[in-house]
Chain length 261, copies 4
């Protein structure tokens, strides 16, 4: 399905504030960028670079006063995500080098501390895809989706204790549990069609059976029509806006629409 | 100046033909992509990846029959290119690692065979920017710009002999002469505002005084308002369409327009 | 000074256990590998790759039974580390792309939670090198170096509270405090000449004034004669042995000797 | 088989001369570096970096006067190279991104000009491994191995005409013919056990059936016990010593010995 996915962010800065955005999607697996635009108001100098993970990052200094950024893309997306029960666990010696990084603990995903919980949830499953499925189901049923119960510093260990959180926390917990079973897992942020309420979204991918599979513990069923903005180890790597100073977020609009073709 | 730069290519394929395009510009030094679109007709699966040099490449199989690709971008471009007479030559031990590759000979730039000519042209200049300027001037005055005198296999050594060629040949010769003086040089392809006749264009960059400088031996004076599509060692690396099989080019349109803002 | 730096590790595995080592130093800034050896007993298949940070990693499956790995290198090292009081803070927009990753929080360095402490320690210093110096001094005097007070899951926030730890904890806290001041900081593991008691060591580097500087809060004075084995965001990235399963460490010897030349 | 492979080069420089060496082998597919040493006399500052292809490169300024470099490694090597008649040709759309570069023409491998010859040699073979085998056989029987018939600027097109050359020319011709059939091919330089007369050696690899296979048109039969020093597009990328200035090669010794274990 062809989607239009966009967001518009309105800031107020009391002084010039350096910022790194990750707001330009790239064509990649399951998505093709047909057109896109990226508008700053007022216009200021901005530089784009590619980070360690291949994400496009935009670096700028937001000037004092009001500032808006608006990005929108027309994207051909896959209607279905790959689902493959039984896809086997790959032992570490058989993993490609590029995924090994995603076995390690990270800021919000302390996989070194969640091994016991992971075994309780998924120990009875066949190693691999079915374990990740069991983790997703457990999170979906045991963690309450509730705004305002977590914040930018909440980690998977805390979510496992509080049993509350939002999409970002669900993803962190899923990632940490996978890694504690030696399954590579990475964070994804982007857009999801018909997300309700509409917002930027976070989910995760796990590497089993020789490929990355999409998992989203906030959803009861697998859903496609996603637009990825960035991949990383966790939210520290894929913040859509990392600001180095104080910046007031005045308003943010996010939309995803089907485009009839 | 804000430019709209685009091209539309019409192919006819007698059988399915794999192809790699480099038709999506990236934001980078001196250019910011404000919006862009990339349209295939008919729609076929296409994958984008980043090559060794950081260029965006699109891989697809062109189906049998008629096929069109159309890309267009709105780009904020620098009106002036950096010009810095006297910028010094950097000895090899002082160059950053990332530019060392551009000292080596390549398919169309046999710098190992042009040392004598380079010394004749630029031996009297101060090492660095002034040598590259002298090389550009020499090419501009000594090589005749003439369509139909060269082809896809013409190299710098041949152009130095024939004294005829097009923008691609001018760039190759400039690059080869620079490298034979141990000045890193790389090929650039893209758009140039008010190029006459309008077409996709090729020029080169040389690394002196600690940065890359733009040089274009087809022009009498330095000119900005360029949109880079790809960087590489020479035309082998930056072909805007590399086809693996027979493909009939039916028509190609290129345009660059100023956008009033 | 030319050093011989080596380690020998003796494991016992009850079943075949995948493992990733980072035990081969590379030539780099301040160190030149004159010779080295890497011996496994028994010999088993082993593959080497380069990780995201450029570290050499060795991947193998340790077989059931006793297993030894022994690596030793003759290294020309710098006797002095660069010390440059007053080296200025670089605002985020002026940092090279390659260091931006080291501004972000990570598993053991929750810089997002230590901003207040960093300001108390270094708020009165000139931004840059002097702030990092103040952080080092504070850690050196306020944190007690004590074995057995921390473990593999101890993070900078915990060390800031407990005021106890070992070299790894000292480095994590230094890194986290630097990042909370928007100074890029990274973890280094390797050897230090005349460390007492001798062991593998950890310290950190901070990026100010346009280069990485070495800091070691376990030492009262700056000391050179270091051999780096690996760089990373924190200990999660630079574990000298990451094991995926149970492995009994039987014995470990580390030595660093001056070589007369 | 465990080999000791080494070389010792003696230069005389009339003035300080920048140079890039590629003389330190890395552990990789089919080879594990058990120990190695790298000695300069006199000792001078030297920096090591990794190039585009992952090769270790050493950069230094050779001082005026006599200069020696000596490198030697103990390497566990594979006794057999993979041989797989019938391994299929992969169409361009099915190749991994990392091998696409090796489809393009390069300085010494003008594959754009050798399509006709490639078809004559290998047109009757099954696409893939068998074509590369046919190319190797043809080179082995049709090109005369003869010192002094080629030089540092000799390319595959010239070798195809002269029908004479050395290992480097054999490799270039093999690579160019493969690429003209859309088979990725790359140059390898290193050591070969029992090469006679002993010298540094060059051969090539072709990518068919989903992996790189070793081919050596200087040999009548496939032979293992090789130590790779560097991979690249052709000899321009993998010169074991690239000098930027005049340097007199006084003497060079190369040895490869079996080590009894």
């Amino acid at each position: 399905m062809q989607l239009e996915a966009g967001c518009q962010i309105h800031y107020h800065a009391s002084e010039p504030t350096p910022c790194i955005f990750m707001l330009r999607p790239r064509s990649g697996y399951g998505q093709w960028i047909m057109s896109e635009e990226y508008v700053l108001a007022p216009k200021v100098p901005i530089l784009e670079y590619t980070d360690f993970y291949g994400n496009l990052c935009q670096r700028l200094v937001i000037p004092a006063g009001d500032f808006q950024v608006r990005t929108v893309a027309q994207v051909e997306t896959a209607d279905e995500i790959d689902v493959q029960p039984g896809a086997p666990y790959l032992s570490v010696e058989n993993l490609p080098e590029s995924v090994l990084l995603f076995l390690l603990p990270s800021r919000y995903c302390q996989s070194d501390q969640l091994g016991q919980l992971a075994l309780e949830i998924a120990g009875a499953q066949a190693p691999g895809y079915d374990q990740v499925s069991a983790i997703c189901d457990w999170i979906h049923t045991q963690i309450e989706y509730q705004y305002g119960t977590s914040n930018a510093s909440t980690s998977a260990v805390e979510t496992a204790q509080s049993r509350q959180g939002v999409c970002r926390d669900f993803a962190h917990l899923g990632i940490a549990l996978c890694r504690s079973l030696n399954i590579p897992a990475r964070m994804v942020v982007g857009y999801l069609y018909e997300l309700d309420p509409m917002d930027l979204h976070a989910w995760f991918e796990a590497y089993v059976g020789g490929q990355w599979f999409t998992f989203d513990a906030t959803q009861a069923q697998p859903r496609g029509n996603r637009v990825t903005l960035a991949y990383g180890r966790d939210a520290a790597d894929v913040a859509l806006a990392t600001q180095f100073g104080l910046l007031q977020l005045q308003e943010m609009k996010v939309w995803v629409k089907a485009v009839s073709t």
